[in-house]
Symmetry: C2
Subunit: 362 residues, 2 copies
Amino acid sequence: MLIKDEHFTTIWLDESNQVIKIIDQRFLPFRLVIETIHSSAEMCLAISEMHLRGAGLIGVAAAWGIYLACKESTDWDQLQLRAEELMNTRPTAINLQNAVDKMLDHLQRVDANHRLEESQRLAQMLSQQDIDACKSIGLHGAEILRTLSKKKNGQTINVLTHCNAGWLAFVDYGSALAPVYEFFNHGYPVHVYVDETRPRNQGARLTAWELAMQGVPHTLIVDNAGGHLMQKEMIDLVIVGADRVSRKGDVANKIGTYLKALAAFDNKIPFYVAFPSSTFDASISDGLSQIPIEARHADEVLYMQGIKEGEEFTFRIAPEATPALNFGFDVTPARLISGYITEFGAFDANQIDSDEWLAMFE
Amino acid sequence: MLIKDEHFTTIWLDESNQVIKIIDQRFLPFRLVIETIHSSAEMCLAISEMHLRGAGLIGVAAAWGIYLACKESTDWDQLQLRAEELMNTRPTAINLQNAVDKMLDHLQRVDANHRLEESQRLAQMLSQQDIDACKSIGLHGAEILRTLSKKKNGQTINVLTHCNAGWLAFVDYGSALAPVYEFFNHGYPVHVYVDETRPRNQGARLTAWELAMQGVPHTLIVDNAGGHLMQKEMIDLVIVGADRVSRKGDVANKIGTYLKALAAFDNKIPFYVAFPSSTFDASISDGLSQIPIEARHADEVLYMQGIKEGEEFTFRIAPEATPALNFGFDVTPARLISGYITEFGAFDANQIDSDEWLAMFE
């Protein structure tokens, strides 16, 4: 997508130096910082410390981490250790595990001398698959927006989204925002209400920024406001991304998603989850009891980053003595979800857990 | 209540100088600032700019504003103008209107020469009524906590609260937190999960601070987290305050309350609203369509206050070009509320809108 009219992806191979380049998202929206990742250990840090984040992107980043590990050693046991480290950086998004599994599955059948070039080819392929899946999600999701647009006689469609499931959460295009971009680029009027998404403010910092860069009209709201906006008929549909989708359609996504799903259900507003098949976990049925939820450091709640006169600061926003608890995700049960948008098409809630649905992800 | 072991109320008459003193809550938790209010115009500013806030407190503050107006002029028309200005400072909490109405009702029957002393007496009385009502709410609410405590065999009761409905929102004791203080002071184990409450962070800044000052165990969470905590059975009950309660029990309260009520309902967790009768509006039946919701400045969303190395700063936390929308309240429909705690007792949802319920508030 575009940053000041220049095309970017969130991660890419610098072929001449055999290193990985990423947008270091910790500095957005205040500064565009490109970081060079030289080793699988650096990639582990970049994932766990959230230099990059987003289900699709951390999957592809882990694949590139395996490529870097192949550069570091031709020893299979070493590679497995590095893979283990990459897999343990973050627990909730299944994309990470899916990508590492795919890399290892293939590489174990490859001669040690060819592992580096094969790992490069495969990581490149997973990166391209992520891009293609997001493009397809955009096409299928835009269809839903066009149907709503017809119902509203072409009036502006108001979308609510939570966290960032735009292009910054993938290699390009995004999941939840891909339909918005597709719809907008065809000249339809659309406006996005952006949930701030405490504690890390991915909505305020990333979604607002990427929508502004593409010229999509949007308004920032606090996470508390979505329910009221739905009660007042200011939202036509909700689209969010996912970090893991269970076989029966339960969705782990950024903490607070469940609250918006409840409000959408209560107000009969369509609530869609957009995700590529790399986010699907066929091994899990009940999301609430089976998806591991990441607990992150309390400081993410107690401190905040901001800008004053061009300078960035981190400051404390709570009393000195106050402790905090910080879960990264929650699980929205399938019963609250209207439909799912994948690279294979859009699916109604009643199509979930069918043979057709499961076959699609094999 | 206590601030570093010294007893305070949030507002009081300085009798020797005939001025009003308030805790200027804009500086909490970083600094304790006492502001002197000399005129009804200064009181208007203190209310609208939220030097003080909270349904009960702004009612009493408006009563003291009328007292200051009586000092300024003995002219009845002038007094009515000042009353109008006080009433227009904030639209949602009915306490403001109720207090000003009571003051004017009484003062119009008083000789102009006696208005000042009568206004002082009446404002003092409304202040005392606020204190007494909150004390009673504490007693009635603690009964509910004791019942839960028995069910849990004396294990710690985990309360979730949103915004600040503690003593800082009233003259003393508070509404939602009064039962917690009463229960805690009798030696029962209790722990409060405090919703941060964006955009003004009254939870992180005021509730966490006042709980710490009384020694009540508490943990700060982001507004997004409550639903997940309920799903994981970490919350025994929710208690919130109110800015206006309709005759059929709909509740206007800080934006985001509705989302927590939905989550409590979905997880079968008791959801209580604590309020003194000064917050009741018998003239309104359907809260959602009839209670006016205050829209505040977008900067409250786009900027944030914090502390760094002992110094306070205001920072921008969103991209430069991003617009924001900022509603102060939402309405929770009565169907989601388990019960109400007033100075007259605790009431089940099915007792609402009965003759007995309405008679109580007359």
